[in-house]
Structures are given as C-alpha cells and as structure tokens.
C-alpha cells in the first residue's frame, strides 16, 4: 500500500515522498496520532549534526517518540482503532546477553531509518505496546523518552551496590525531571537530591527531597550514586562534579548526549573505585515497565503533564515547520504534534 512519508531532505526542509507497505509481510500498520519532538530530531532539523552524518542519513523521516492507532493487523493481535505506543528500536537478531537497544545490528527510527512522521508506520507486532485508554495520549506520546529513564533506573538497580541512602540527579531539564519522577516512584525510600542551574525549573521537582544549585553545592555533601542527565557542553562539568561528591564505589549513570568527547577526572574515578555506565535508548521490556508504572502510580501522569509544552495540530508541511520552530524556542517541556495526516 502506498504510504505518505514526510522526510527531512535538508535542514529545515520537509518533503513528501511515498513508500509501498507490503500488506503480506506480517507487519501491523499503525496510524500515528500524537508525535513528540526530541533533541535528536532537532539536531537533524537544524543541521547541527556533522555534515557527513547529515549526508549519510537524509532524506529521513524524523521522530522516534509517538503513539498511534492500529489500522491493520494481519496477526489478529490487536483491533482496529486500538491505541498503541510505538517502539523505535528495531532489533534484527536475538541475543541472550546483550539488550536489544545495545545490539549494533539494531536499527533505530529517525536515526538508521524512517521515523514516525508518516501517514502509516509498518511495524513488527512486538514493536508496539498497548496503551490504556485512561492515559492521556499527549503524555503517552513521549513514553519513549520516559522509557529511556526507566531503562537507566532498571540498570542502576542491577549495577549499583546496596547502600542507597542518597542518590543525586544532575540536570533540571526534561530528562532529569522524568528520571527523578520515576526514580522516586521505583525507590521511594531513597533520598533524592536534584542538582541544576535554574531555580524556576528545580521548583517543579516537588517530590524530590532537596534541590541544589550546581554553583552552591555544600562541600561536605556526599551522595551514594548519581544520574547524569545534562549532556552537551555541560557534560564535563556535571560528571566531574559528580565524581567530587560521590562516595567510594558509587555508580554514575550517564544519560546525557554529547557531540564531543568529554574529559573526566579518571584519577578520582580510580581512587574511589567508581563504576560509570552509559545508558541509551530502551527496549520493549522498558516500555512495558513504563506503561505498568503509569497504571500503578497514576500520580506520575500528573507530574509528566507539567512538561507538556506546545501542542500543534499538523496537517501540512508548514505545520511541521511551525512545530519544530516552536520547539526551538521553548525553555523546557515537550512539543507535541497532533498528527492528522
């Protein structure tokens, strides 16, 4: 079936192209309804990725966070009209040891192949997760981002030693906020401190035990483990600050993306015997855990609603540009496209 794909062909330029979805491939067809813009999409849209990367990846449909409705399911697993969350990670092999989101062979939407800015998205049946009708689709649209936090927290649970009196999260942006919400939901007994730069943003972390400005951290303040949710140019400062304030044998979970290599104080990493682990993306299990938490802890949805930014109805390419341009000028929050293609 012919399918309309809205690909970014050059920075700030979307064009209509078509592909042909094979109705006999066993894939299910989802019609996206709510799509959420991520920093990674913006790096392509604004042409901030290196020129050779842009040349290699474009034209490509952006967006890897979204929900949609089942249109066609030859497997009979779903009914037409069922709401589902789409999983962007697409493994092509099974591995008993390595998680699907770390397999080098896995493809990722809006990175290795077309993302969700399409009329229909064809997916293997295990690449969607049912969405409870009670969950607001606007909030559910950025479940992928949430699942990345959940994934990192689950890994923390298997890697970090058992002394978990105080955990710190560096970063007061969307990722820091989401990681903090879910950490508190999954480990309510652990004291959670937030380290950021913007008092206004940090005031939203009402569920955390304390917040600190990164320029005024008490020298004797120590944490057992930390999550770095900063990324970009500030990664170096954040990671080295964590190294200064972490107890021996603590774990540092890095989630922030940086375009450049980051120098860190390895002498102190050695002296303290720290474990630093990276987390990126997520897999089906993380989505299922996230959706289960939405159900078990409904207050999470309320907290997540605080970071919903502009909601833009998209029917034309001009609307797509408007959504991305609006997203650039936000200070915090997620820009959601109400996708009506």
């Amino acid at each position: 079936m012919l399918n309309t794909v809205f690909r970014l062909v050059a920075p700030r330029r979307f064009e209509v192209e078509f592909n042909d979805i094979d109705l006999h491939s066993g894939q299910i067809i989802v019609r996206p309804t709510h799509l959420s813009i991520c920093h990674a999409d913006q790096r392509y849209y604004q042409g901030l990725r290196p020129a050779e990367i842009l040349k290699q990846k474009l034209p490509m449909a952006l967006i890897h966070e979204g929900v949609g409705e089942i249109v066609y399911d030859p497997t009979g697993t779903y009914h037409c009209g069922d709401s589902v969350i789409m999983i962007p990670n697409t493994p092509v092999e099974k591995d008993d040891v390595i998680a699907e989101n770390y397999l080098r062979s896995s493809k990722f939407r809006a990175s290795g192949f077309d993302g969700f800015m399409q009329e229909h998205v064809a997916l293997q049946p295990d690449r969607v997760v049912p969405l409870e009708p009670t969950v607001d689709k606007i909030i559910a649209s950025f479940t992928e981002l949430v699942s990345v936090s959940v994934h990192a927290i689950r890994r923390f649970d298997t890697i970090a030693h058992a002394r978990r009196n105080i955990v710190g999260i560096w970063g007061d942006g969307n990722l820091g906020y989401i990681t903090a919400i879910f950490f508190k939901a999954m480990f309510p007994e652990v004291k959670l401190y937030i380290f950021g730069v913007d008092q206004e943003k940090m005031s939203q972390f009402s569920f955390a035990d304390d917040t600190f400005s990164v320029t005024e951290i008490p020298t004797d303040l120590m944490i057992d483990h930390a999550f770095e949710c900063v990324g970009g140019d500030a990664s170096q400062k954040a990671i080295n600050q964590i190294i200064d304030h972490i107890q021996p044998e603590g774990t540092i979970s890095i989630l922030g993306v940086s375009e450049y290599p980051v120098p860190i104080n390895t002498r102190m990493v050695l002296e303290k015997g720290l474990r630093i682990f990276g987390s990126s993306r997520s897999g089906r299990e993380d989505f299922l855990k996230t959706v289960a938490l939405y159900k078990e802890r409904p207050e999470i949805i309320g907290y997540l609603s605080n970071i919903v930014g502009a909601q833009i109805e998209v029917r034309t390419i001009a609307d797509m540009n408007l959504a991305f341009e609006t997203d650039i000028h936000k200070s915090i929050g997620k820009t959601i496209m109400i996708w009506d293609k």
Binding site: T4, L23, I29, H120
Partner: protein, 239 residues
C-alpha cells in the same frame, strides 16, 4: 454501512500509444488500480469494496485483485462499469441494493482508480462528513487563476481565485439520496451533470468540502505517470 466504490471505467484514450487503460499501468512495480484498492482495503469501515471497470477488463481486474490481495480478495467485488461516470456509480448502488439493501445509512465513497496517492485522512474525513452531511467532495484550493471563456477565444470572466477550488476524489454520497436524485433527472440533465456532486448542488443539497492533497494527483497523461513513478522512488531499505 459504508462501501468503497473505485471507478476504473475509463479507457485511457489520453494516454498516448499505450495499449492498456492507464489504471492498469504499473507504478512502483504494481498496477495503479491495486495501489488505489489497497488504500481502501486497510480501512476497516468498508463493508465491501466495489471496483467498476470496462467489461473486457473485469476478469483481468479480478485476477489482479486475487494476485495482490490474496485472501483479502473476498473483500472486493469487480463489476462492469456503465456508459458514463454516473451510470457506473449507479451500477454500484444497484449492486449494494441487491446484495445488502439500501437505507438512510448507506454511504458510498467513490474514488478514481487513477488517484493512488490519496491518504487515510482523506478517506476518514469523507466517511465522517458523509455521515453528517450526506454528500462530500474532496478539493484543494486553486493555485492557478481560473479563467472562464464562453467561446474559447476570449475571456468572459475571471472568478476570484480565493473562492476557487480544484475538485479531486473521493466524493462521498448517501447512496439512497443519490439514486433518488439521479433518477429524477431528465435525459438531457443526465448528459450535462457529469459530476455526481453537481447533481446534489443543482438539487439544492449541501455538499461538504474535505481538504485534499496536492499530491493526490490523477494519473491522466504520460507526464503524470513519470511524476508518480518519481514520487514512489524509495532510495533506502527498511522504510
């Protein structure tokens, strides 16, 4: 009940020297008519898809549907079209009446088989507004200035472009209403009213507009075929 009615009655006389009617030409390795049928096939509201084509192409069309849709071919019935576009639509209504009966809720979404680039949204809005208003036309705002000429050599008027739209398909109708209106026309009126939505307008019925897409093109000329082929080109795997 909602029915998809795919109009493939044309004989392709404007297509140059090709032997086949244009809807049977391949684009992206698949006959255009199959692309169009597939767009309707995945829409779960249709009780049945009715394809109407020239008599000598009925068997061939059935074969194509079986080849490309497999078991899904049961969802499609191929019938012979009429002498005119409206007669072809009437054939679909007679079929529905015979097999399912006509009532106030019977809706037909009629579509040119040579417009394979229509979208799910266009079909969905045709059904939604069809249920609400009883008649729907799919249009896009005119980009060229429309010029009217009574004689063909001088302008008689230049209508305000802001009020001009170009008609596309689908066109959606309450089947019972369309049948009543059509049968009330004189033979002379039937000759003039080549467009089904015009019948509604002439009879004072409201026809709701649905926004089409610029790319919902009608493959009419060899040029269109090249455009269509280039639109489908997919340079990457796993799209």
């Amino acid at each position: 009940m909602v029915f998809g009615v795919i109009l493939a009655g044309g004989v392709g006389s404007r297509m140059g020297n090709v032997e086949k009617p244009k809807q049977y030409l391949k684009v992206g390795g698949k006959p255009i008519i199959i692309h169009t049928i597939e767009k309707f096939f995945v829409h779960d509201e249709f009780v049945k898809l009715i394809v109407l084509c020239p008599k000598q192409w009925v068997e061939n069309t059935k074969n194509l549907v079986r080849k490309y849709l497999g078991d899904g071919a049961d969802h499609v019935v191929v019938l012979e079209g009429g002498a005119t576009r409206n007669e072809t639509i009437m054939n679909s209504i007679y079929y529905i009446e015979k097999e399912y009966g006509l009532d106030e809720e019977t809706l037909i979404v009629t579509h040119d088989s040579v417009r394979p680039f229509l979208t799910y949204r266009i079909i969905e809005e045709n059904i939604r507004y069809g249920k609400e208003y009883g008649a729907v036309d799919t249009v896009i705002a005119a980009t060229d200035t429309i010029v009217e000429s009574e004689t063909g050599d001088v302008i008689s008027s230049v209508p305000d472009r802001a009020k001009m739209y170009q008609g596309q398909t689908p066109q959606t109708f309450n089947a019972k209403k369309l049948k009543e209106l059509y049968l009330s026309l004189s033979e002379k009126e039937k000759d003039i009213l080549t467009d089904a939505s015009k019948i509604f307008v002439i009879k004072g019925e409201k026809v709701h507009l649905v926004q089409g897409e610029v790319f919902n093109i009608k493959i009419t000329y060899p040029y269109d075929l090249r455009v269509a082929e280039s639109l489908i080109q997919d340079p990457k795997n796993m799209k």
